[in-house]
């Protein structure tokens, strides 16, 4: 099963209006080539689930600039004035979620859990519309799983089978999202033979990865 694909062909698998998780934190660890292909192919009406929308011209910010996004589920948009402008103008719906809660909701979807109870947000605006449960005398919000049609994963290496590893803070939401979407497309910095990533270093096992983007070749 050959999972290697060009960024252009990978992006073609994604429909207008799709719900897409995109890894990265302020652009660090985001799958930049896939994002650029979605912009180039003029994808529209997307729902994006991500930590943030980075800055104009950077990472997910490029999708915002291109008005490809109808709804953004994120933890923070303070660094992107264009996201805020579109939100205030009513062109973009933004759901703000506490960061640890976003991580757990994505994980819950990927791990087959019906939800998790978190103390974060109890008694605040973040509790609106949510069930508050008391467990052993403490109050928690019931946070539901969050899944997507597609996950776009930035990673350090992919082996030919699709095993992935990550580098430093570029890991962030990527491995969580790789478990929570119907179609998982990874964009590695480098592709390596099977066995090069040792078993203990594999963070995302290959069975979770449907496709990975081939590298640009620089061999002489």
């Amino acid at each position: 099963m050959n999972k290697a694909i060009s960024a252009a062909a990978a992006a073609e698998r994604i429909a207008d209006g799709a719900v897409i998780m995109i890894g990265g934190f302020m652009g660090v660890g985001s799958p930049h080539r896939l994002i650029e292909e979605l912009v180039r192919q003029k994808r529209a009406g997307l729902t994006i689930i991500a930590n943030d929308s980075a800055r104009p011209g950077v990472g997910i910010g490029k999708l915002i600039d291109a008005r490809a996004v109808r709804r953004l589920i994120a933890t923070h948009i303070g660094t992107n004035p264009e996201t805020q402008r579109q939100m205030i103008a009513g062109e973009l719906a933004v759901d703000l979620v506490p960061q640890g809660t976003l991580a757990e909701r994505i994980r819950a979807a990927g791990h087959g859990l019906g939800g998790v109870l978190t103390p974060t947000g109890v008694g605040t605006i973040a509790a609106e519309g949510k069930q508050t449960l008391e467990v052993d005398g403490r109050a928690f919000l019931l946070e539901k799983p969050l899944a997507a049609d597609v996950a776009l994963i930035g990673c350090h290496r992919a082996d030919y089978n699709g095993n992935l590893d990550y580098s430093l803070t570029a890991r962030n939401f990527n491995p969580l999202m790789a478990m929570a979407a119907g179609l998982v497309i990874a964009e590695p910095d480098a592709v390596v033979p099977v066995g090069v990533i040792p078993p203990d270093a594999v963070v995302t096992p290959h069975v979770l990865v449907d496709l990975f983007v081939q590298g640009d070749h620089r061999h002489g």
Binding site: F25, V28, R55, V94, Q99, G100, A103, T118, G123, A170
Partner: protein, 218 residues
Amino acid sequence: MDDKTIIARRVAREMKSGQLVNLGIGLPTTVARYLPTGIEVFFQSENGIIGMAPVPAEGLENDSLSDAGGSPIGAVAGAAAFDSCTSFGLIRGGHLDVTVLGGLQVDEQGRLANWMVPGRMVPGMGGAMDLVSGARRVIVAMTHTAKGEAKILPRCTLPLTSVRRVDLLVTELAVIEPTAQGLLLRETAPGVSVDQVLAATAARLIVPDQVGVMALAA
């Protein structure tokens, strides 16, 4: 010394060796510069690392290594990288000793509002709600007033970050400890009187017989 430096230098004195510390973006980040000699703490950045350090020199930045604001950082020997669930597991699970956060308002119950001004500024809560709910010790580092308006209020007018009572509030005028009984004035800044603090504070302050003078880290 400007107000923010006073605050950062006072907060720095709260750190104890071996602690795991998360510093918010902005003013709180500057606390790292003023750690007293001999105090070694580990800095967590919620985007997924323990052992954050400054980049040692220009040109040594790494595209895969940044702080929660997206700025390049370095790492100490023995740093650890992890995903966002683990990062917030550390925070929510009580493994983070101290978080230092900026503030827009703090109320008489010691509750913090720091993530939005409805209709005007909606950056999102990022990791703030988890940090305030989960850290063992929450220190708010903020200016005492904003454009002459009190920020320490009987009740926050802005949306709360958490209903949890924060542990310490450090401003350029005072150190205040929120307690079950109310806001306890612990220290005033050098040259600042108790009356000056009271005048700049809309919330009721409990003023004990002894109010100390803020000692600042060098």
